[in-house]
């Protein structure tokens, strides 16, 4: 079964139609990259998958998105967001909370674990996010003392702690230095063995490095979608070819 199925998705902010009919099937336990130039609607597409888009006023959604066969518009939105974790472009751990609490608070609120068990979940998540060794001595320190790359891995840990089925990543390395970005990419390679990862990127090179499947989004439409080799070696569409060779973007 596909992890995510998107059918005829249209998203409109007031008068501006951002997604103009998107169809996508995202298989389970792969890394699926959505690439495209700025303003093509890729972040909107991602934020529709966990309905975070609904935080904005005046958003209209048409079409269907199914998560493992179940319509996301029919399930409770808090449950949906627990099953679909998200990592953002700007590392956004809560600066006023400790490293520990940043992971623990959502675990507590969602009833994933209680009491001593929370410690175990936090440790597990931080290990999964390859951050444990760097922070285990200072879990009580404020999260704003971490570097940008560490903050981003903390955000990944925070999302993983809820045991999501799908992990959405919205240009997770856009604001990081190359070394920190590499670490995140290595982490994606590890995580995709267990999770379905949907990553949005404006860099074709990054898509080629981390993903099995790539969709090219342009002006609110999917221009081409397929396995990573096909898209990069034998693009069927002229626009895709121009984009992957760096002529538009």
């Amino acid at each position: 079964m596909n992890a995510v199925e998107i059918e005829g998705l249209r998203v409109r902010y007031q008068d501006l139609e951002v997604l103009k009919g998107v169809d996508l099937d995202i298989p389970a336990k792969v890394c699926f990259a959505i690439m495209g130039p700025s303003g093509c609607g890729k972040s909107t597409l991602l934020k529709t998958m966990n309905r975070l888009i609904e935080l904005n006023e005046g958003v209209k959604i048409e079409g269907e998105i199914r998560l493992f066969g179940e319509s996301i518009f029919k399930v409770d939105v808090t449950r949906l967001r627990r099953e679909v974790g998200m990592v953002f472009q700007h590392p956004n751990p809560f600066p006023h909370m400790s490293i520990y609490d940043n992971v623990a608070f959502a675990v507590k609120c969602n009833g994933i674990a209680k009491g001593k068990e929370i410690d175990r979940v936090v440790e597990w998540a931080l290990k999964k996010a390859a951050l444990w060794e760097e922070v285990k001595e200072r879990l009580k320190n404020k999260a704003n003392q971490l570097s940008g790359g560490q903050m981003q891995r903390l955000c990944i840990a925070r999302a993983l702690a809820l045991k999501p089925k799908v992990l959405l990543m919205d240009e997770p390395t856009a604001n990081l230095d190359p070394i920190a970005a590499n670490k995140i990419e290595d982490l994606i390679q590890e995580l995709k063995k267990e999770y379905t990862i949907v990553i949005v990127t404006h860099s074709p090179a990054q898509a080629a490095r981390v993903a099995e499947y790539v969709a090219f989004l342009y002006m609110g439409r999917v221009i081409e979608v397929g396995e990573v080799n096909e898209i990069f070696e034998r693009p069927k569409n002229e626009l895709t070819e121009k984009y992957v060779t760096g002529r538009i973007g």
């Binding site: 966990n50 975070l52 935080l55 006023e57 808090t78 449950r79 949906l80 967001r81 627990r82 099953e83 974790g85 998200m86 953002f88 700007h90 956004n92 751990p93 809560f94 006023h96 909370m97 608070f105 959502a106 609120c109 969602n110 404020k142 955000c155 925070r158 999302a159 809820l162």
Partner: protein, 299 residues
């Protein structure tokens, strides 16, 4: 020193100069009463005006007590209401009509306080005296509710009136900082499958310093409020644990007494020393706030 710095100096000097001069004036004028009574002016509750200077005795403990008591009541009532109102205005109503809620709140914050005072005397006190009687008749054995023959002119009336006056102000401060939370944090909390209540709690903890600051500023306003309070508090030199007892506050004491103060030798000095006490309460509250913020690692 460069020219720009020199250009800015007058504003800096004016503000700091005024603060220092005020403190100086209050201190110098208090000396006379300190000489006669020492620190006892702040620790006793006697107000004895006399034609003979040796028989004059002033102790303003009741007013200090009343100031802190009424302001605390006001803060306790106002805090939950203003946080609730701030969240409602920011989160639960559409952006387009938000202004229709914000403008009346801001207008309320700026209304002349005498308007609240008149309303307090004619509406609040009579209606609150019914509530007071209800509680007194049933719960008189609890010190908080025990005061023989309560009239409605009380700490409670003053506290409620102050709460009404400072709530719009506190709401504005909390609302502005709540709306200023960067969007990336809003998205973060909601992406974690939290309910609206849980998400709001996290966001509030993010602006805790602003809430504390708002609280302190509101407390400062409550402490300094004069006319409206003196209309409803009963103006009695009284120290009583009951919410229903009449009392005094420092600012209403000064406002009520200064008219006849100059007929006596020591009373002006006593009022200046009361002003000094008000000054100190303001300073203490602000320092306390700074210490709290520091302990949380914000300042």
């Amino acid at each position: 020193m460069d020219k720009f710095k020199i250009f800015l100096m007058p504003s800096v000097c004016t503000v700091f100069g005024i603060i220092i001069l005020m403190l100086l004036v209050f201190t110098l004028n208090s000396i006379a009463v300190f000489k006669q009574e020492g620190f006892a002016i702040y620790t006793t509750n006697i107000w004895k005006a006399s034609e003979v200077a040796e028989e004059e005795y002033y102790g303003i403990l009741a007013a200090i007590y009343g100031t802190i008591y009424t302001s605390t009541i006001a803060i306790l009532i106002s805090l939950p209401i203003s946080i609730g109102l701030a969240i409602f205005v920011s989160d639960l109503i559409p952006k387009k009509i938000r202004e229709f809620f914000i403008i009346p709140i801001d207008v309320m914050a700026g209304l002349p306080t005498i308007l609240y005072g008149i309303w307090g005397v004619f509406i609040l006190v009579p209606s609150i005296s019914g509530i007071i009687k209800f509680f007194y008749e049933r719960l008189f054995f609890i010190p908080l509710f025990s005061y023989y023959n309560p009239t409605g002119f009380s700490y409670l009336s003053a506290g409620v009136l102050l709460a009404i006056m400072i709530t719009p102000f506190a709401t504005s401060l909390i609302r502005e900082s709540y709306l200023a939370i960067p969007n990336i944090y809003r998205e973060a909390v909601y992406s974690l499958g939290l309910t609206r209540y849980e998400a709001t709690k996290i966001l509030l903890s993010y602006i805790k310093p602003a809430i504390v600051a708002g609280l302190l500023l509101a407390f400062g306003r409550a402490v300094g409020e004069t006319v409206a309070v003196s209309l409803v508090i009963g103006n009695a030199f009284n120290i009583h644990p009951s919410l229903f007892a009449p009392g005094y506050t420092i600012s209403s004491l000064i406002a009520n007494q200064f008219g006849n103060a100059f007929a006596y030798e020591l009373m002006p000095s006593a009022l200046f020393s009361a002003g000094l006490a008000l000054f100190s309460i303001g300073l203490i509250v602000n320092f306390a706030g700074l210490i709290i913020l520091k302990r949380w690692g914000y300042a």
